[in-house]
């Protein structure tokens, strides 16, 4: 059972559809007690960092998520759900959860922002956990929708990189945490394989 965190924004319906299609029992909750006792957590994200953090705090979810990740329960985050894990985001000058060292910056090199569409994800071959998660995906193209990207302090956490003007960490791993800047739940067959690998590994 995976608990999908509802913090008032994001494509919750879409995420529930994907997990259900993969046969994973899931529940949507914004209750800190439910999230605090969850066996596994999914933090989705389509939204703005400022509102996202504010909503997590209002619901008392920020410290609960931090404690759960540090305890080492399986955690998966998508898009904003990845960005909020870092210390700081340039978007609305937001102090984030601070679980991972690093910050989130706006794309500057490309003319069109947000990046919307399918882009190549290059897996960090030196990272065995990353290799297992991306195993069996022949053409690693995933769907992105983002104006901001994470700058990760610890290179060991970088599971994959992508180039959109700047080259950035498009996936990170840390203990049982896996988070992606792209949307695996919207990335067709490639996303399905990736999520299936995560589920096999953790649930």
């Amino acid at each position: 059972m995976i608990t999908i965190i509802d913090y008032g924004l994001g494509n919750i319906g879409s995420v529930v559809n994907t997990m259900t299609a993969l046969g994973v029992p899931c529940a949507v909750s914004s209750d800190p007690f439910v999230v605090g006792s969850a066996a596994a957590i999914l933090l989705p994200g389509v939204g703005a960092a400022g509102v996202g953090m504010q909503n997590l705090k209002t619901r008392g979810l920020d410290s609960v998520i931090r404690n759960q990740v540090l305890r080492g329960i399986p955690f998966i985050g998508f898009c904003l759900g990845m960005q909020l894990l870092f210390e700081y985001s340039e978007e609305a000058d937001t102090v984030c959860l601070g679980i991972l060292k690093g910050s989130v910056r706006k794309f500057r090199a490309e003319k069109k922002v947000p990046q919307i569409g399918w882009n190549t994800v290059t897996v960090s071959e030196s990272n065995p956990y990353a290799r297992r998660l991306f195993d069996g995906i022949p053409a690693a193209e995933f769907y992105f929708v983002n104006s901001y990207y994470p700058v990760v302090e610890n290179p060991d956490m970088v599971a994959a990189t992508t180039k959109y003007g700047e080259t950035f960490a498009s996936a990170v791993v840390y203990k049982n945490l896996f988070a992606t800047q792209f949307h695996p739940e919207k990335s067709g067959a490639a996303g399905t394989i990736l999520l299936t690998n995560f589920i096999k590994e953790n649930l």
Binding site: G13, V46, G47, A48, P138, E141, Y143, V145, K163, H183
Partner: protein, 254 residues
């Protein structure tokens, strides 16, 4: 760099997919849920769902159809039609949409774009713009399902919408819609150059060459078509193979 996207569009009314010519003379194109599943499996890069009569009929969007369609797709799903408030948008996201497009609601209340972008991020807000050439030769933005001239210049409105927070422009040429005579290249190029967000070109696709032209000459980031795909005149795999051979970067189909 992102690849160029191929987007089938489901124009909906009364629970059915329809396809018109220049926004009139609609013809039944089938069941939205079955079509969505087929396109998702076929390698479409995204799916657009537009409830084209929600505004003129002054009713909410077809939620149950959105819910059931969303269940069948594992690619981005953009939904629009009759969205008038942040709460309408939230409802659609809960129903399974990944992005929401605003059209008449945004022309009548431009602040809606900003409010939606503040709530859900600008990458989630698509401005749907229906353009038609006026007597003076300028393209104007039309509203109410293409039945009323807003008086706004299409290019200026696209720029303003991006400034207000729209993360993408879905640009439909009413003149070209359903004609299969090709996309309106000049309009698309102008908007694409003037607006700092991705542009989806729509209206007029009739052949694979039209897609090549709109990407290469129209500088579109994505191209949308409906009847070509619905009536089986063109499949997404064959279109992608053609574009790839013409050096247009498209997503490989697994």
């Amino acid at each position: 760099m992102t690849t160029k996207r191929i987007i089938p569009c489901l124009d909906m009314t009364e629970g059915k997919v329809v396809k018109g010519i220049q926004f009139v003379s609609f013809r039944d194109a089938g069941d939205p849920i079955a079509l969505a599943k087929k396109y998702s499996d076929d390698g479409a890069d995204e799916l657009v769902f537009l409830d084209i009569t929600a505004t003129v009929e002054n009713r909410p969007i077809l939620f149950d159809v959105v819910v059931n369609t969303a269940k069948k797709v594992n690619i981005p799903f953009s939904v629009g039609g009759g969205v008038r408030s942040v709460s309408d948008m939230r409802q659609l996201l809960l129903a399974g949409a990944d992005k929401v497009s605003l059209n008449t609601g945004a022309v009548k209340n431009p602040k809606l774009i900003t409010d939606c972008a503040n709530a859900f991020g600008n990458q989630c807000v698509v401005l749907s713009l229906d353009a038609k050439a006026s007597a003076s030769g300028r393209w104007n933005a039309w509203i109410n399902g293409g039945t009323k001239d807003s008086g706004l210049s299409a290019v200026e409105w696209a720029k303003e919408a991006a400034r207000l927070g729209a993360g993408e422009i879905l640009l439909t040429s009413i003149d070209a819609d359903g004609t299969k005579n090709g996309f309106t290249v000049e309009l698309t190029r102008q908007v694409s150059r003037d607006v700092p967000v991705p542009v989806i070109a729509s209206g007029g696709a009739g052949s694979m060459k039209d897609f090549l032209e709109i990407f290469r000459d129209g500088e579109a980031d994505a191209a949308l078509a409906a009847s070509l795909f619905h009536f089986g005149e063109l499949t997404i795999p064959e279109l992608k193979r053609y574009l790839s051979a013409q050096n247009i970067a498209v997503r490989e189909i697994l």
